[in-house]
Amino acid sequence: MKQTRRDFLRNTGCGLTMTAMATQLQHFGMLNTMAQKAGSKFGSAVPSDYRALVCIFMFGGNDGNNTVIPNHSDANVSGYPAYAAGRSAQGLALAQNTLLPVSVPRIGGLSYGLHPGFGTVTGGINPGLHPLWAQGKMGVVTNVGPLVRPLTRAEYQNNPDWRPRQLFSHSDQTNAHQSARADVVMLSGWGGRISDRTTISANPDRLVPTVSSLGGARLFTVGENTQPVSLGAAPTPLSGILALTGYNGTPVANARLAALETQLDIEQGHDLVHASNEVHREAIRISRSLNDTVEVTVAFPNTELGNQLKQVARMIKARNTLHMNRQIFFCSIDGFDTHTGQIAGQGALLGRMSQAMRSFYDEMTAQGLADKVTQFTMTDFNRTFNPGGSGTNVGSDHAWANHQFIVGGGVLGGDFYGMNTSNGTPFPTLVQNGPDDADSGVARGRWIPTTSVEQYAGTLASWYGLEAADMPFVFPNMVNFPMMNLGFMAS
């Protein structure tokens, strides 16, 4: 009898034929990986601990200039007066006394301030992310962004060929962050490519793909051989996410289900039909494993991101029954394209983000995994230092290098990380037409990154377990940068 994919799936756990084994491996896209590479950091043994990366993508381009703000008056390294000079006239500067102070050892203990949304907020259910700085559980990588190679301002201006492609465009810069490649269009992301090179050794008995997306099959989650599973957010229980309705075990229903699944093997060589069938087959296959009813113990905010992270926390709690040792998750929060109405808009979004990420951190602590799960942020781009509009309409436009947050017990928190800018610190000089501005002439303050997405992502990948030998595969342009690990993660 012909062994169909379905037969195999029903027989998971029984003795596998070689054909079935190949089918499964192909499903998880690991055949090439096997061929290319045997062994990894984990060797032939399954890793003894659990680790997970959780990406929080802020769609629209978060204004980092109003997220991490100088809270000192040292004019040599852009203090609060420089910030206020650029932003207060139009009403975009946050009052200094509303900032949540953080001390930065890397810059001689100078004080910086986080957006007030990172603290307690109206309607909040926890203290937010800010207290985690003092506890050393949260760090910031400053002035990071897509680069093809290190780039000074003069080099930027004189060598258009050295620039990333399509700077300031939402779609392209989002993809540059998610693919960790700024010079060409990539069809895979760095989360997916990490999975390409680690899954076979890390999750040999996995019942779900290594990468889970709470926001569709976004580029970050797709590898050359890796496909993510797309999961709906809470309140849908894990067991309900991929459950087919209408099948109650009667002969009529069973016959219908058999037909439904038989159809999924009919393709006639049509590529689009095949692609659709693949997604459906994968969904049905995974649904047979996602029958856990685990629940979290910490309260999560009932927001889009809160419900996404709650579902991630459940997946992590079910990790043993799913046989997962390494996982990568993608979550997102939308609405950061604040060309106007930024004060209210960004404030609300950062508050929601901080609340959700804090609940997730607390839940990981409750699960005993605080130092095993790391949350990190990415976004399309930073926004112009020079505001657009004024008053309640004030906003900002598309820019470049930004500040990103890493949260977790494995983070060497309480400090800034990244390469120094020309002012000798990792924080950019907040001056339009200044040494870090990509603009010239009527310059609006679009900071040129000093740290590349590759360096930021590579540090996380290394902590996750990606071997140095696999870095060039996951981050082809890493060789162009002086430092592969920024040092913000404990080993």
Binding site: Q90, G216, L242, E267, H270, V279
Partner: protein, 721 residues
């Protein structure tokens, strides 16, 4: 433009059409011949030679193996290409499938007629996109070509060497290609499969009444009729514009029904589905929807139907007009002004949002294009940017000073932002300095001089308006606009990955409709829908067609099986938006200006361009199947908030077929024609028949719904092709 089709098909038609010529235009046979690759003696290996050694004739034997290379040219031979005069090598796509399962689209070079009905086709064993690497020398691979949505036979070609055991596809792997589905009448349009396909492209789905109408009058007459048809069939809702806060007697707390019917997106969403299910002016409704997925605004910014309806009117009124005029109306639309911030852009704070997106998404795109939509490359082989940040800065200045007409227009009201009348200029906010516009081959009037005589408000208004028109003309006349907008419209109406030749034919009509007019959308739409790549009873190319987006998955079924309310009594009120939203497409609430799905989306793990797959993932796949189960078996129940009567499908037309034949074959044959263009393969029929026969014979309704559900849930149906 005239198609060249095999004349034998036309003979019986001509006489009948002559008699009807007063009111019926001629429709050609939609079926192009199927291209055929010539093989070597063993009939499994392609007849191919290195171009460098080719003598210009048809060789008697081919070369066994070829080196994969960006420079090495290979010549093969194709028969059965019946080319139009405008069709060249860019009408052909060449695919190479290797043992790894990877599929490469090879770089084509030349198409040369070498004998009667035989063309030499030259290409390189090199994939210019290179998304999944390049072909590797691992022995026998398969090669096939596509033309007008039809695939040729597959033949082996040795890459590096021969051997390796790759198998040619067997007959059962390949879609049926023969069945014509012609009805007996010799008038109108007799091709049943293509009528259904046409109504999926030009309308929101194939209703039996429109199908019958096209069978009588043909495609061209139907199109001519649709271009002039009154629109809408069901009047636009006319909710009040919201004051700064809703009135006390119509707020979310005091009167949620009143609030919902006035100050949310629901009235527009319901009206949209009502018009799609039951409206007579389908082509305009469909084109406006496609334009709305290109010139995107979204209720995410302001949750009010009044402004979104005002915007939809611009699209529907402009659907068959000139694109330049549409671009102007969109630019000064207060809805767009709000959404992309032009309404708040001033000379002291110019906003870059609209200037950037009008270029990237509404007109020219990021890269310089050839007229067939492919990217121009520089000498290093890199794409060429079509604009830069300096262009954005300059354009931003042109767009400064425009804002809502809150005081002096017909719909201005006390304390109400006017989302209905076009934006007006506030003279003091307009930048009076010189601006430089886009420079491109053939660009004219690329400088707007500083205003020399701007002393009065009237002079500034004239200057600003003239500057705006000059800038929009500058954008509109960019050579990218035809291929860029043309390809997007093809993707929304017909197929996700059109051949460059198809794009080129549409761009040519965009550039000049035959009367010297550029941007005539009526001619563009007609060209898209009558193109030989759009038409045909059966399409066999492996990447032809598109995934049905959630909205059209719903409307398509609601037109084949007339949508009714939950109780099956009267019309559905069209409360479908929440269901579409659950499948990833919340109508009129696109998450960003990049639409519900990206026009550049590539199916993960492949090189397949398929925008709607942006919404297809494991979670949504199950949701689609579950939604179909509820819709088809149970109906969508009424609820007290937005759907007082719910929605169900009326399948009564199909029940007699289920009653007449206990095997289920009659029912399935009928559904095959109406849902699947008659292209259902035996394996699917067998699977569905088994499920039908498991339902008791005395329940023909359940048998009918079972068959409809299984077809609708199959990828064979969900891919519209």
């Amino acid at each position: 433009m005239k198609f060249v089709f095999r004349k034998s098909y036309l003979v019986p038609l001509v006489i009948a059409l002559l008699a009807l010529s007063a009111f019926a235009q001629e429709d050609p046979n939609p079926d192009s011949p199927t291209p055929s690759l010539l093989s070597s003696h063993d009939r499994t290996r392609i007849l191919a030679v290195n171009t460098r050694g080719w003598d210009g004739g048809i060789p008697s034997t081919g070369t066994a193996a070829f080196r994969p290379s960006a420079t090495n040219s290979v010549t093969v031979f194709v028969s059965n290409l019946d080319l139009m005069s405008s069709e060249g090598v860019n009408s052909i796509q060449v695919y190479l499938t290797q043992r790894s399962g990877k599929v490469f689209e090879l770089q084509t070079e030349q198409l040369i007629e070498v004998a009667k009905n035989v063309h030499a086709l030259q290409f390189r064993i090199y994939d210019p996109a290179g998304y999944r690497g390049q072909p590797v020398p691992d022995g026998d691979s398969l090669i096939n070509i596509t033309w007008r949505g039809l695939t040729s036979n597959s033949l082996k070609i040795g890459i590096g060497s021969t051997g390796g055991g790759i198998k040619l596809p067997t007959a059962s792997d390949i879609a049926p290609s023969g069945k014509r589905n012609q009805s007996a009448e010799l008038v109108g349009y007799q091709y049943a499969g293509d009528r259904v396909r046409f109504l999926e492209q030009a309308a929101f789905g194939p209703s039996s009444s429109e199908d019958l109408r096209i069978r009588r009058i043909g495609l061209r007459t139907w199109l001519a009729d649709q271009f002039d048809k009154p629109y809408p069939t069901f009047a636009y809702p006319n909710p009040a514009q919201m004051p700064t806060a809703p009135p006390a007697n119509c707020s979310l707390t005091t009167n949620p029904t009143c609030y919902r019917e006035n100050y949310t997106m629901i009235p527009l969403q319901k009206w949209f589905f009502t018009e799609a299910f039951y409206g007579n002016s389908q082509l305009r409704h469909k084109t406006a929807w496609a334009l709305g997925e290109i010139l995107v605004t979204s209720g995410v910014a302001i949750q009010q139907s009044s402004h979104a309806i005002a915007y939809h009117k611009i699209l529907s009124e402009g659907a068959f007009g000139n694109y330049r005029q549409l671009l102007g109306n969109v630019t000064l639309s207060p809805t767009m002004g709000q959404y992309l911030d032009m309404a708040r852009s001033t000379k002291s704070n110019p906003n870059e949002n609209y200037p950037r997106e009008i270029l990237q998404l509404f007109s020219i795109g990021l890269f310089m294009l050839n007229q067939d939509g492919t990217q121009q490359l520089d000498q290093q082989g890199h794409a060429i940017d079509s604009y830069n940040q300096a262009n954005i800065n300059e354009l931003s200045k042109v767009f400064t000073g425009w804002t809502f007409c809150n005081f002096t227009c017909a719909n201005s009201g006390n304390g109400i932002i006017n989302y209905k009348d076009p934006m007006v200029l506030v003279p003091g906010n307009h930048d009076l300095g010189a601006k430089t516009l886009l420079n491109y081959p053939g660009a004219q009037n690329t400088v707007i001089p500083a205003c020399a005589s701007c002393s009065s408000d009237e002079e500034i208004k004239d200057y600003a308006n003239n500057s705006l028109q000059q800038a929009l003309n500058n954008i509109f006349n960019h050579p990218n606009v035809g291929p860029f907008i043309g390809k997007l419209l093809i993707q929304h109406l017909v197929t996700s990955d059109p051949s460059p030749a198809y794009v080129g034919r549409v761009a040519a009509v965009f550039n000049d409709n035959g009367s010297g007019v550029r941007g005539d959308l009526k001619s563009v739409i007609k060209t898209i829908l009558l193109d030989p790549e759009a038409r045909g009873n059966i399409k066999t190319a492996p990447r032809y067609g598109k995934l049905r987006e959630p909205v059209q998955l719903i409307t398509g079924l609601g037109r084949i099986f007339p949508a009714k309310d939950y109780f099956g009594e009267i019309r559905s009120e069209g409360a479908m938006a929440s269901y579409a939203a659950n499948l990833g497409q919340d109508p009129f609430n696109s998450p960003t200006v990049f639409n519900y799905f990206s026009a550049q989306f590539i199916v993960p793990g492949t090189s397949i361009l398929a925008p709607e797959f942006d919404l297809m993932n494991t979670g949504n796949a199950i949701k689609r199947t579950n939604f179909l189960h509820t819709l088809i078996f149970e109906g969508l129940a009424a609820n007290a908030t937005d759907s007082l009567r719910g929605t169900s499908l009326d399948v009564s037309e199909f029940i007699p077929a289920a009653q007449a034949d206990p095997t289920g074959n009659q029912l399935l044959d009928l559904l095959n024609v109406r849902m699947m263009h008659g292209a259902m393969v035996q394996a699917q029929k067998d699977a569905i028949l088994t499920a039908i026969q498991a339902v008791p014979e005395n329940n023909p309704t359940l048998r009918t719904r079972t068959a409809i559900y299984l077809i609708a849930a199959s990828s064979q149906y969900q891919i519209q092709r």
